[in-house]
Amino acid sequence: MRITVPFLLLSAYLSVYSGAAGAALGGAPTDFGVKDSGRQVRVLAADNSRSNFRVNESTLSSGTVVREYVAAASGTVFAVSWTGPIMPDLQEVLGKHVATLNAETSKKPRAGNSQVSINRPDIVIQSGGHMRAFEGRAWVASEFPSGFTADDIQ
């Protein structure tokens, strides 16, 4: 599957990002490096009309790609997406919001673990797929930079 990243310059540059460890959604970008020596990170620069955020793209050793959408003003991750053969570490990616995931998925009176779709005012978490092909997104809409919508998360 070809993944496109709209609104971003094709001439995205490779760079080693040295972010603060273990923060993720709602905090600074995640440093997967400590736990996953195989990862590659590149920072995708937003184009001129969308300079109020940037995207940190990490390719984990499994091949799974994690994108973190970072507000330029605050340096805070306001959205994240993942796609690939193995789920990323959701605690690393979702940060404190993993508690919401656990609380919501434990409520089901009907068994079923195939899809997660949590839609709350404070957080949206979507997690789906099957073995060898997982993908998901999560975002905090109240933290979106001006002009950003959930459809911009790829």
Binding site: S62, P85, K107
Partner: protein, 429 residues
Amino acid sequence: MRFFASLQLTLKHLFNYSLQPSAARRAGIVRGVAAVSVVSCLALAACGGGGGSSTPTTPVTPVPVNNTAAMTVDSGPAAASGVINQPYVSVTICAPGTSSCQTIDHILVDTGSYGLRIIAPGILDTSLALPSVQNTAGIAVAECVKFTSGYTWGSVRLADVKIAGEVASSLPVNIVGDASAVFSNTPASCSSGLSNLGTVANLGANGILGIGVFKEDCGNTCVNSAAAGAYYACSGLTCTGTSLPLAKQVSNPVASFPQDNNGVILVLPSVPAGGVNSTSGSLIFGIGTQTNNAFASETVYTTNTVGNFTTTYKGKALTASYLDSGSNGYYFPDSSITLCGTSGGFYCPPATLSLSALNTDSKGVVSGTVNFNIENVDNLPFSISAAQVGGSAGGNTFDWGLPFFFGRRVFVAIENSTTPKGPGPYWAY
């Protein structure tokens, strides 16, 4: 018009396949030999079809075995509750090469995964003493499986796996929740703060029979790297990530059968409005290998390299879509449908919705419309175990869960296998 144009292209593809002694065919033959060390290639059907064997042999028709397992959709094992739309078979596992065996009921039939997983606590007879699989350094292997909302953790061991009359000999299987001390600590990189799904109550099943379009559960991803959240090597009380050769990975038993090994057919009856308390059908092994698994009027939909095709719903192409008997409903994005107050994640429309979507194969040449209904789950009695229900999914997926399988014969062809309609991976219905 588009359909007819597509059909032409499809026939051309099929024709091409029939002419080629392709790599896929050779791979199918190699796989058959490698997986069954004792049984030689006696006939085309037993080796995945096609020519190319270097040893001149007289084709011998193998004695057909019983290739049909009874499949039920019911309220699940006693320890589960609220189960809906979960198809089960019984599976027998034996210590390799022995008659020391255990038959386990209520194993979930899952076309969205690959390989057999048995829940150990309260289910597995540990006196079977299944031998551990070891990595290339000789260290015992365990496996983490990360699902969308939680994980399972357990050992990888060898077992003879028997379903109906079929046998996969000395197959790596996943013993979830293995009580052996060496596997007792779940690595933090596996659990990562999520829920342990490796219980009968959480899975609604005593195990999972992954019979989707691939052979190994991880594949080359785990051959090439010690990917976090997959295979681990365990010694003492510590487990660390390890790479693992394909032959040692937990694998789809069907691909290791000496015959009927190119895929499966799931057959379930229609389910009326309002649902039923239980229903039953068949899990048939092999495609075009016996009189009961030939094609009728089914259409082939190839999948891409990760097992997806495209579903177009309300004008939007959802490119990570798939058929999954292990999903208990139709899961797709539609913010216009009311979500349930009680059953989290499900849709609860005030009146039953009649909807449709278009499935297109991964080559973009074959497509067909599927009509389906969404009933209100919260209005169904808790005793209902099979019904046309669905729920919400993320932006790029249409997950055709078990309700899709009601009233159909659904073919699942394994990657690189040879079938009368060309090589897998594909679905046909």
